[in-house]
Symmetry: C2
Subunit: 398 residues, 2 copies
């Protein structure tokens, strides 16, 4: 008995959270935030007795127009929390639609993480807390009790970029146990992202596990490379250490990535049991990754049978001099003439790239290139990119 | 040219950090924190014009005695930052020894992350920022420009625990390109941890890559399972969703994990190219994982040739009734008689488990069991566990 008590005592003080913690009234010692109620309302709590104002900024609130660096965009809304006599601030939402939501607090104007929610994702230079509301689309982003694929962070040799580079690879449930060969989806991130973005913010492993378990998508390998050619790995993962992340990295849209993309395909086809042919290759990307996808798929115009452009930065760059951007119209025509099974575009109605996407559609119409076009609510946000992956993946390799 | 400007504009406003950000004076718009100077001093900065007090709590400061739930332990020190006329708080340290350091701010008594440092690790229920000082031990924890192993998050079937469970596996550089078979180190986490702890807070992949590149450790597979038998995956990764993490989970030290550990060995040996014999199996763990290691290695007394106990919770639990904890002395003797190459113990001088480890040494002395014993500065902290892994791994499979 003495030993058991000693053991409990020992375990209890292993905790760094105690050590790093602070003295608070008993009533607020075990704050739950966010607390998701059965009716899909959510209560947020933040203990700050000396603060004058605590607010929450989140995409569950109606979008507001905010100034980006170069113009107005839709941003997450902000609303105040209410303080009680203990100094605990709180707010309870209306019932929320099933989704994956991001948020942070602001305490007297200072952006703050929720200290009671250790679940966060990094997007470019910031960590943001998140939570999931189930019973709908949000279930697609949960780890459910179904067979799971594997997510591997490994390094591939890029002779073209003259470095070993970090890459994330999802292999579907059953990959390890069989001799079967699988099709491959190359899935590209946007500016500010890296080889971890789709598997963290993008919930790609959960989406693929869930789609495969439901029989909605074929088992496939999903290869998630790093599109920032100056990096060997994403911020905090590569040999560049832990600098303050820059949002725009040099050389991300100058043709170098596109020209060397076959290093990634070669690595994949030499290291995984894949069906190494056009019929079993798909490529898709969001924003800057959509730009990359459009250019890679026409620059190698007989390589991919499935192409997905998500909220794509579809600036044709006719002025660019790199050989990758020469003859855009001609190579698109070649791509069309070579034949492909699906050219898929999705964009939100309030996306600042909406106009650029309409112009690109016209270009496709001009050359009689068939495509599927999906228009959704919302702007240039991860919510849409997760939805787009969940819609696009079931269309592949059928 | 017009298109290029539009493109730049588009890219710039992709950023969530802008949208979630706030208006600050130009002078503090691009705060660097932490800023590591060439002389290994570090400047921390925090913009909080309306705050009355901003402090930093970190393990680079001299340890202080703090009250844990059941007694005094060493905790990280705290020191104030100084405010300037813009409301920017800062402090510059003395030159710091090369290490991996954790920290957080406190703003008017409220624990805060550094909003300018997106690099953080989760330990139990809290996120904590970190930084690395190089030119010494800290280099062991960096991703250097050397060959890299792979880190895979996958799921194994545990018939004993009746679930699929998430597990992290490091395979060394070259694993994929050869037919070679490799030895295996099973590496166990402590209370409050899970299958991600060693590869995040523990920097296990970087440590192994660096040791292997220096020729100090043999290429080996490192298997990092989840020791919380009620979970199928760690917090935020398993089917339990995103609850507020509990520090002590049910059934973590009641014999169930130890009794079913062979599910993990079987999975490893069936799914990886391993040398499946005692000479090529090692097991080590920190704190609760040291407790598990001690019990697993004597309960299966002819299975592991290398055993590492790091800051171990070495309470023998002679009072426990589970069959795993019966006949502790007898099975230790059997383990000794079966022979093994290394029984290794490491503990910090100020660890609250120091006494329990001395008692366990006596027990080993009583049965004439050989062991190596390492005593370091410091207490029950990750700093020590990273150092212990970097010392233990070179002793394996020689």
């Amino acid at each position: 008995m003495k030993l058991q008590i000693a053991l409990l005592a020992s375990i209890a003080i292993f905790s760094f959270s105690n050590i790093f913690g602070q003295e608070v009234p008993n009533e607020v010692e075990n704050i739950i935030s966010p607390e998701i109620h059965d009716d899909q309302t959510v209560t947020f709590r933040f203990y700050a007795p000396s603060a004058d104002k605590v607010e929450i900024t989140s995409d569950f609130l109606p979008a507001v127009k905010v100034m980006g660096r170069f113009g107005e965009v839709d941003g997450p809304g902000t609303t105040p929390l209410i303080k009680n006599e203990l100094g605990l601030w709180s707010i309870t939402t209306e019932p929320l639609e099933s989704e994956f939501y991001s948020y942070n607090f602001s305490v007297d104007g200072i952006r703050s993480m929720d200290p009671n929610n250790p679940y966060a994702v990094r997007n470019s230079s910031s960590l943001t807390n998140f939570f999931i509301i189930g019973q709908g689309q949000g279930d697609m982003y949960k780890t459910n009790d179904i067979p799971h694929g594997s997510v591997t962070h490994r390094w591939y040799d890029s002779p073209g970029l003259e470095m070993d580079r970090r890459i994330t690879v999802y292999t579907p449930p059953g990959y390890e146990g069989t001799d079967e060969e699988f099709p491959v989806l190359y899935l590209l991130h946007g500016a500010g992202g890296d080889e971890d973005s789709w598997s963290t913010h993008g919930r790609s492993a959960q989406i693929m596990d869930n789609l495969i378990a439901m029989g909605k998508a074929k088992p496939m390998i999903v290869v998630m490379p790093n599109g920032n050619v100056v990096q060997d790995g994403g911020y905090g993962q590569g040999s560049n250490g832990f600098p303050k992340p820059q949002f725009i990295l040099p050389q991300t849209m100058n043709g170098v990535y596109e020209a060397n993309f076959m290093d990634i395909v070669k690595f994949t086809e030499e290291n995984y049991r894949v069906k190494a042919n056009k019929e079993h290759r798909a490529i898709a990307g969001l924003s800057m990754g959509g730009f990359h996808t459009m250019h890679i798929s026409r620059y190698y115009p007989n390589t991919f049978d499935y192409v997905g452009l998500m909220s794509s930065a579809l600036m044709p760059r006719e002025d660019a001099t790199d050989k990758v951007y020469n003859s855009i119209d001609a190579t698109l025509k070649t791509q069309k003439e070579n034949g492909l099974k699906l050219y898929w575009m999705a964009i939100g109605k309030t996306d600042f790239l909406y106009g650029a996407n309409q112009e690109f559609k016209k270009k496709l119409d001009d050359i009689d290139m068939a495509y599927e076009y999906v228009e959704t609510d919302g702007g240039h946000i991860w919510r849409n990119w997760r939805i787009y992956l969940a819609e696009f993946a079931p269309k592949l390799f059928n």
